[in-house]
């Protein structure tokens, strides 16, 4: 039996001992222990070092609110988690744990030098210190901040666990399975409604687990708990322990994380580590209880100083005495009971110090009966002890005067500053809080959600009050569901309720400016820091919070927010309700990234779209690039070719023979209906009325602001049918835009739009030898200038497959695009590939496509345009109809700014020294002007290799169309490049190569 384990106490199983390690030292634990309770059973209070001052720290609490005892937990490769609270991590056999924030060891930590230099690290330290000189940022300040930042160490290996997510719909969700929550569940269990009861702890019971002596309707608390649990399960109530409600979202959606394996010695196969639940509940009962408040005094953070309620929990729930000779300091009755329980378990309680001058007679009598010295109207002004508290300084207070101090020895100090209702989830609902002067805390007042608050969460203390309120509030919720129940009334004997006063800081006879009286333990924020923040001009509590970091640690201010508010309110000279509370945000407790990711990791992180021809590209060594959600073949290297070499070869082969390209990702929309041509006239800049069936036209789509949104070749297959193509990335956006105008502006038009992107496989063939390959395979049309000129389209068969054949070119060569039913794509590709071998057919990818189109000055929307480019800027005024009454963007083009002189125009750029420009580089007119220079444009496309024998570029340049032949400059970090403005067409400007 470990030294501080109390025989016959607690719910741990003495028959099931286990071994775990802490910083390499093995310790025994019992089934049911947390790491904190097991370490305390061995007398180990020192569990970590604080974040800023590296002060030695121990567990201050026994639950999820713990700010100090953060540890790393490890279960073999990849299964390391930092910042786990030792107070909630259940021990399993073989668990490895480590302390954090220390070097070289927990007992001796060089970082503790910060503690001695605490005057330097006051509130706003970072803002004040890292100001100048500017050159120090990169080399001194940032490395320093990065090294000091962060709690614990992030895992470096990939997490081998899986994480699940599920939806759950229920009538009544009860959050918190203490007495209020259980009474609520019992009330609802007979109604036949679906009821879910969740609790973050390993077992339900809440306060009852720490109050075994209470008797509920004559039954001992733990027997009543076991019976109630059995009754609830029998009634079909879903009980979910180890499940934390992390957030309350709109319309009664509650996010919950269920821990499934972190307490198990053997990992079961095929079980996720955690499961994220999205619960939609018709009604919610929030019964989250209350959190005990620490007292604020110098030295309130030493290992061994802890909340009185936590000490009571360690004793009654885990059978662990937190010390042999504890002292108690309190302003609330509840700590007296903790003292009595410890005395009854054999501890010699050194003293109960109560800040109040008057305390209930029965408590004083009970203390006398146990021979516990009592000091009323006293304060604690200091503690001592390097790695564990060893004594405390006590002073009498009378009439506002603090008397002389005397030292009292102890090995633990239990404190209680009263209780704060846990209102986190309530606040997530945008619920309104009301300040309660008597309780010195905020209480829930109104929430817009279908939700009731029960028990200690609304300031009701004691088991009986919680039970009865749970039943009564559940009745309200059930009423709203149309289920009528009689609310049970419970009578509880040995119920230990109490009252107290709330102090902001304990009175002291010492200089407040030297006191290390901690408010936020995790972020090392003291009362002095809060006052300093107010003195330095912070007025809003939100500013005080950010300046001092009070409440910003992973515990989210569960212990510090109310104390912080009280101290700030004092300093501001305003009542608390006028200062207000900072906002609680989800998640309630730290939540793993895995739980949020769920199944969306690795290949499931994002949809990957592949064409039918993609497997052929993969088999033939393609290098891929992502384009939107698609992956597209970028180039097809042969042998040891790099990209430049491959692209040069692919370009040359296409210009000299035949290049074949998978264009299936092009967006495709079928526009059909009696008013299809009218619709096209209104959507696109171009005129469509006179386009004959069987002909195509390049279409330009603007926004109503007049800027280019998309483009593509559009074929008119019939009087009432258009085959519209869009850019690969723009397909969904164009479809949405068309639907928007059709449904909401022109609902009178009889037109139907269908996305057909994935219904067609599209293969582009380009080059002077294309007709030789294709003509023998095509039935239904003769491939010559007379029958099928450039910009024609037809429905025919290709290699026996029904096809839509377009004669278009995005390369400047004779070109065709063959659309076949998507599943036939690969068959057609391979047929063409085989038939093309005698003609030197070459597969090319998107990189070659880019080079070939740039040589012809064909734009890519989104690369050469950026949402501020008009058709005129892009040199495509020819695509804008002059005599239509309206089209989307027509009025926009007439806006004064769009007609202004000196707009940026798309032009070609040829560098004088034949060097390659960088896409995105800025363009200036005068390279010798002082910095910052006036920027006159930027490079949009630049390619090193192609058919022109020199690098080419496109760019947007102020007044570019009027500056052909002039020289502009592109300043780079190491030199300035001069380039000549040219036409954007670099190759075959007369389009002679488009002819068969």
């Amino acid at each position: 039996m470990s030294r501080f384990r109390v025989r016959g106490k607690g719910r741990v199983d003495a028959a099931k001992p286990m071994i775990f390690t802490f910083d390499g030292t093995p310790y025994t634990a019992l089934k049911g222990d947390t790491v904190a309770s097991a370490l305390l059973a061995h007398g180990v209070h020192l569990m970590g070092r604080s974040f800023k001052y590296h002060r030695p720290r121990g567990a201050i609490a026994a639950g999820s609110e713990e700010p100090n005892a953060l540890i790393g937990t490890r279960r073999g490769d990849g299964r390391f988690e930092p910042n786990t609270r030792a107070t909630v991590q259940e021990v399993w056999g073989g668990l490895q744990t480590t302390s954090q924030n220390k070097f070289p060891s927990l007992r001796f930590d060089v970082g503790a030098v910060n503690d001695a230099a605490y005057m330097l690290f006051s509130a706003g330290f970072y803002y004040k210190t890292f100001m100048w000189p500017k050159s120090f940022w990169d080399r001194v300040y940032e490395p320093f901040i990065r090294a000091a930042a962060g709690l614990g160490v992030a895992p470096t290996e990939e997490d081998p666990d899986s994480y699940a997510s599920r939806y759950l719909h229920c009538d009544l969700l009860i959050v918190g399975a203490g007495p209020a929550g259980i009474a609520a569940a019992l009330a609802a269990s007979a109604t036949g409604r679906s009821v879910v009861l969740v609790d973050e702890n390993a077992e339900i019971g809440g306060t009852l687990l720490s109050e075994p002596d209470a008797q509920i309707d004559g039954t001992p608390a733990w027997d009543w708990l076991a019976q109630s649990r059995a009754d609830l399960l029998a009634a079909g109530v879903k009980i979910m322990p180890r499940t934390t409600a992390i957030g309350y979202y709109h319309q009664n959606m509650i996010g919950m994380v269920q821990k499934l394996t972190d307490h198990l010695t053997e990992l079961p196969a095929d079980t996720p580590r955690e499961r994220l639940w999205r619960v939609r509940a018709k009604q919610v009962v929030l019964a989250q209880g209350a959190l005990e408040k620490p007292l604020v005094f110098h030295g309130n953070d030493r290992p061994g100083v802890m909340l009185a309620g936590a000490a009571q929990t360690y004793l009654n729930r885990y059978g662990v005495k937190v010390g042999d000779s504890p002292a108690v300091v309190t302003s609330h009755d509840s700590a007296w009971f903790a003292a009595f329980d410890l005395a009854d378990a054999g501890a010699r309680v050194q003293v109960i110090i109560d800040t109040r001058a008057q305390v209930r007679a029965d408590l004083q009598e009970a203390a006398r009966a146990r021979s516990i010295p009592v000091r009323l109207g006293h304060t604690v002004t200091a503690t001592a002890g390097r790695l564990r508290v060893k004594n405390l300084r006590v002073n009498a207070v009378s009439g506002g005067h603090v008397g002389a101090g005397t030292w009292i020895n102890c090995d633990a100090l239990l404190m209680s500053g009263g209780w704060t209702p846990s209102l986190h989830l309530f606040s997530h609902t945008k619920g309104r809080l009301a300040w309660d002067d008597a309780l010195t805390t905020f209480l829930p007042e109104h929430t817009p959600e279908a939700c009731v608050i029960a028990g200690a969460a609304r300031g009701l203390w004691g088991v009986q009050a919680a039970l009865n309120d749970g039943a009564a509030r559940a009745r309200e919720a059930l009423d709203a569901l149309g289920a009528t129940v009689q609310a049970a009334v419970y009578a509880v004997a040995k119920d230990r309720t109490g009252t107290g006063v709330s102090l902001h800081e304990l009175p002291t006879d010492r200089s407040a400016s030297k006191a290390k009286a901690f408010v936020d333990f995790q972020n090392d924020v003291t009362a002095k820091d809060l006052r300093l923040a107010v003195r330095e001009g912070m007025r809003s509590i939100e500013h005080v919070k950010r300046y001092t970091t009070n409440g910003m640690a992973t515990d989210q201010g569960k212990m510090s927010n109310i104390n912080g508010l009280n101290i700030a309110a004092d300093a501001l000279g305003k009542p608390q309700p006028q200062v207000g509370l900072t906002t609680f945000r989800p998640p309630y407790t730290p939540t793993s990234f895995g739980a949020f990711c769920g199944y969306h990791r690795g290949d499931h992180f994002e949809v990957l779209r592949r064409t039918q021809i993609d497997p052929w590209a993969e088999e033939n060594g393609a290098v891929f690039e992502p384009v939107g959600q698609w992956r597209r073949a970028r180039y097809f290297p042969q042998g040891n070719e790099d990209m430049d070499a491959a692209v040069r070869r692919e370009c040359a082969a296409t210009r000299a023979g035949i290049g074949m390209f998978d264009a299936s990702t092009l967006g495709k929309i079928e526009v059909v209906g009696p008013d299809a041509v009218e619709f096209m006239n209104r959507m696109y800049t171009n005129p469509w009325t006179k386009l004959a069936p069987g002909r195509c036209r390049y279409g330009l789509l603007l926004g109503d602001d007049g800027f280019i949104r998309d483009d593509g070749v559009i074929g008119r297959l019939d009087a009432d049918r258009f085959h519209v193509t869009t850019t690969t990335g723009g397909a969904a956006r164009v479809m949405n835009m068309m639907e928007d105008y059709l449904q909401t502006e022109w609902p009178d038009l009889e037109v139907w739009l269908t996305s057909t992107t994935e219904q067609w496989s599209t293969i582009a063939l380009n080059g002077p030898n294309v007709v030789k390959l294709l003509a023998p395979l095509v039935e239904g049309v003769a491939l010559n200038e007379a029958d099928f000129p450039h910009m024609s389209c037809v429905e025919c068969t290709v290699a026996g497959m029904p096809a839509r054949l377009f004669r278009v070119s995005f390369t400047g060569e004779v070109g065709f695009e063959i659309n076949v039913a998507a599943p036939l794509g690969r068959q057609l590709w391979e047929t063409l590939w085989a038939a093309g071998q005698p003609h030197g057919i070459t597969a090319y990818g998107t990189e070659t496509m880019h080079v070939l189109r740039a040589e012809k000055g064909y734009i890519i929307v989104g690369q050469d345009t950026d949402g501020t480019v008009t058709p005129y800027d892009a040199g495509m005024g020819w695509a804008v109809a002059k005599s239509k009454p309206d089209f989307v963007g027509m009025r926009g083009l007439a806006r004064p700014d769009l007609k202004a002189a000196n707009r940026r125009h798309l032009v070609g750029l040829l560098t004088e020294d034949h060097s390659l420009l960088e896409e995105g580089a800025q363009i200036v007119f005068d390279p010798d002007q002082p910095i910052p220079m006036t920027m006159r444009g930027h490079v949009t496309s630049a390619y090193a290799t192609g058919t022109t024998g020199r690098p080419i570029a496109l760019g947007l340049v102020e007044g570019g169309h009027e500056k052909l032949g002039e020289t502009v400059y592109i300043p780079m970090p190491d030199r300035t490049i001069a380039a000549k403005i040219t036409s954007s067409v670099f190759f075959d400007p007369d389009n002679t190569r488009l002819k068969i």
């Binding site: 959606m253 939609r280 109503d704 949405n736 639907e739 502006e745 609902p747 009454p885 309206d886």
Partner: protein, 100 residues
């Protein structure tokens, strides 16, 4: 996650099925060419920035695909009503008055 009622499907469905589509009742003139610069600026760029009830468009993009209108409170995210495109703007006072 919000639950949104699609007036075309007549069903209340998760927010994931819907896409926000900007302020409602912004009318594009039948012949924009006749609009003054000021009128066109108003149509293109000027939008309400309501704190409270806001008339706005949504699209049931992963469902029936229809655009519809809604009145949503921008503070509480509460939907007061949804209605079909083309239906008249509902009376705000009676809508909010009816809300419990």
């Amino acid at each position: 996650m919000l639950l949104i009622h699609c007036p075309y499907c007549d069903d209340t469905l998760p927010e994931l099925e819907f896409a926000y589509a900007g302020q409602a009742h912004v009318v594009r003139a039948p012949l924009p060419a006749t609009q003054s610069d000021a009128e066109w600026e108003e149509f293109l760029f000027i939008r309400d920035n309501a704190r409270g009830p806001h008339f706005e468009r949504w699209r049931h993009i992963h469902g029936c695909g229809r655009f519809f209108n809604a009145v949503r409170d921008t503070v509480s995210d509460r939907f007061y009503t949804t209605y079909k495109a083309g239906a008249p703007r509902p009376d705000l006072a009676s809508l909010i008055g009816e809300a419990p």
